[in-house]
């Protein structure tokens, strides 16, 4: 069996941490910047960064439609923070013209947990794994989701529990940054689903 090749969308954001995490769990990690790169991977991680920037660069690099097609075909994908926004079905209170792939049937609010100054770290209980350390940086908040979405972890910021790790088929979305800690279990979970 040939080992799975997992791409990390390398247009903008904390690409290096995802690549390092994948390599440390023995996965072949590939930077994806072009259509040619995308063709060569079995799954993809969309990293944290700025979702408006990543969306714009997906358009200019010609990746938007090719990636959209791969996602509709059921390619495994994990979006963290900005990546979750890019995969969502709608963006609440964002820019009127900001598009997203609609792979995950969730509505997200950009910076839903507050601006930079409100960034925080919290222990998150993940189904099937147990407690993990969640780093939230200007994190998006999932405000609504369809019944097709499985909620794997929630966080309560005082306004009631909201999902922070979700899965719908081959697509995973995460409000926080598992790539910024030494705990690689969320990446292992994603890779095991390939």
């Amino acid at each position: 069996m040939v080992a799975a090749r997992v791409g990390v969308l390398s247009l903008q954001g904390d690409v290096r941490e995802h690549v390092a995490t994948l390599r440390s769990i023995g996965v072949v990690a590939v930077a994806v910047r072009t259509l040619h790169d995308l063709d060569a991977v079995d799954g993809l991680i969309i990293p944290g960064g700025e979702s408006t920037t990543i969306a714009r660069l997906l358009e200019t690099s010609g990746l938007r439609f090719a990636l959209g097609e791969r996602l509709r075909d059921g390619m495994a994908v994990l979006g963290t923070c900005a990546g979750l926004i890019v995969l969502s079905r709608s963006i609440v209170d964002g820019r009127a013209d900001q598009w997203s792939f609609g792979t995950l049937e969730v509505d997200v609010r950009r910076n839903g947990f507050g601006r930079q100054i409100a960034s925080f770290e919290s222990v998150i209980e993940v189904n099937g794994i147990g407690p993990v350390s969640g780093v939230f940086i200007r994190a998006p908040k999932i405000e609504a989701w369809s019944s097709a979405v499985t909620v794997l972890a929630t966080h309560d910021d005082g306004s009631g529990p909201t999902p922070v790790l979700v899965r719908q088929g081959a697509a995973w979305g995460c409000s926080f940054h598992p790539e910024l800690t030494d705990d690689h279990r969320i990446h292992e979970l994603f890779v095991a689903s390939l």
Binding site: D14, E50, T53, R56, L57, R115
Partner: protein
């Protein structure tokens, strides 16, 4: 915790803007953040006088306009300006040599703040002193407002060369190198073992074309700040987009060539050797 914050800006372009209209152009072009200030560095240079923190109203207008992070500048050592910027919920404070320094011996104690700080550096010792004071992001200073990339290149190359020297030092040499760098020993030891800064290193000062962005990214910058280079060019919208694309695809010269085509005139720029005011010398 503070160390992870700036990682989300990597591979991006942070643009100086002086009003909400420019902020919107920057966001549309794909900027990862904007720096809200009253005058871009080339105008500060031209006008002279004391350059201070921006009017809070102007910063708030920009915060209301864009969804990306908004940064603002405080004078070196002016912790009261920094307190005001933190109270305004800005996403980053740049303790900046572009403004007139308020303290010629001390920088702000940045550990006393929850908002992350970015600081300029011309060499490794300066970078590590700022990190020791709590900066979570370092940028090369370059020579702001000149449209001339030569100083930014000098600073990046200096920092890289000094990091390589540390990486090859034996245990006994480290102490003397820390003394030469005038930098905190624990941070010197960390750089010696990892080979890079403990926080991201971005580039600022004089970047005014897509080729400049590609150059500094290839020299090890992880993102770029563009000050006067965008809104002092002939077609800011086009220039902003081109620099964003060149920063992402800096290793692919065919993309940089494509986006460099038909941009109109870049900002005029200045020869740095004849400058009377050298902003990069501010900071201690």
């Amino acid at each position: 915790m503070k160390r992870g914050l700036a990682d989300m800006l990597r591979g991006g372009v942070i643009m100086d803007v002086v009003n909400p209209e420019q902020a919107k152009i920057a966001e549309d072009a794909g900027a990862v953040a904007v720096m809200a200030l009253e005058r871009v560095p080339s105008d500060i240079r031209r006008d002279g006088g004391v350059a201070r923190m921006s009017d809070p109203h102007m910063i708030q207008e920009i915060q209301a306009t864009v969804t990306i992070p908004v940064m603002a500048k405080a004078r070196i050592g002016h912790f009261a300006e920094a307190q005001i910027l933190q109270a305004l919920d800005v996403d980053y404070i740049d303790e900046s040599e572009v403004l007139t320094p308020a303290d010629e011996e001390n920088h702000i104690d940045k550990w006393g703040f929850t908002v992350p700080f970015v600081c300029g550096a011309t060499n490794l010792g300066e970078a590590l002193r700022r990190i020791g004071e709590g900066a979570c992001l370092i940028r090369s200073k370059g020579e702001a407002g000149t449209g001339n990339v030569v100083e930014a290149v000098r600073h990046l190359r200096t920092i890289n060369a000094q990091m390589r020297r540390l990486a090859s030092a034996d245990a006994a040499e480290i102490y003397r190198l820390a003394k030469d760098l005038q930098a905190p020993l624990p941070l010197v030891l960390e750089v010696a073992s990892t080979g890079h800064l403990p926080v991201p290193m971005f580039c600022a000062g004089g970047i005014s074309t897509p080729a400049d962005a590609s150059l500094v990214m290839q020299l090890g910058a992880e993102a770029v700040f563009v000050g006067s280079g965008i809104f002092k060019s002939e077609d800011p919208q086009l220039m902003a987009r081109a620099i964003v694309e060149a920063t992402t695809h800096y290793l692919d010269a065919s993309v940089v060539a494509k986006v460099s085509t038909g941009l109109g005139a870049a900002m005029r720029g200045a020869e740095t050797s004849t400058l009377e005011l050298r902003l990069a010398e501010r900071g201690w």
